[in-house]
Symmetry: C2
Subunit: 115 residues, 2 copies
């Protein structure tokens, strides 16, 4: 049996060498090397997280807050570098979710149905 940790490190290397990772890194760098785009993206992320948290906690987003945020949301969604980064994140998250699901399967088999 190959050592569990060796396999984890090989998997890490494989993730690092994957096309999806390279695409994510280059999209991230493209957004973050331009201060204006970086600022817009960070504002967008903050708003996104804030609204998601509010939704999860069952709070309505007040109309005036939504209106104040609208310009940031629209500008971010129209910025090609930000759109590319969001798409790259989406593709990379599919890989990471798959990997996590695979390696968590043994644990799920114990805790999944038997409680």
């Amino acid at each position: 049996m190959t050592n569990l940790y060796d396999l984890a490190y090989s998997l890490e290397k494989s993730i690092r060498e994957s096309g999806d990772y390279a695409a994510l890194k280059s999209a991230f760098d493209a957004v973050n090397t331009d201060p204006t785009t970086k600022q817009l993206f960070n504002n967008f992320r903050e708003l996104q997280m804030k609204f998601q948290t509010m939704q999860m906690m069952g709070q309505e987003i007040p109309t005036e807050e939504m209106e104040a945020a609208q310009l940031t949301l629209t500008m971010a969604q129209q910025n090609p570098n930000i759109v590319k980064l969001m798409e790259a994140e989406q593709r990379f998250s599919v890989v990471i979710n798959d990997v996590t699901r695979i390696i968590m399967k043994p644990l799920e088999e114990i805790y999944g149905g038997n409680q």
Copy 2:
């Protein structure tokens, strides 16, 4: 480069064949084959989760609720099979946390310091 998904499946196999996984499975089975122990463990887990959630949300646990829970908590902590399961979970979670930290490192390198 070995295929990323092949490596994920090899890692899954290695986790499944590890001593820590076998120990977890046997400890879980020991708790769950005895209906009384199983019930006690489930009650204990529920209370633990409820109190943790309350703490995370900054809520005090009311004294009367704590007192009502005390018997369950004490009984669970004195049940050798439940103690063994909690210890096995603790050891297995070290492995899983290590593995997760290793494979998330590439992602952390992108998002870690640069925001």
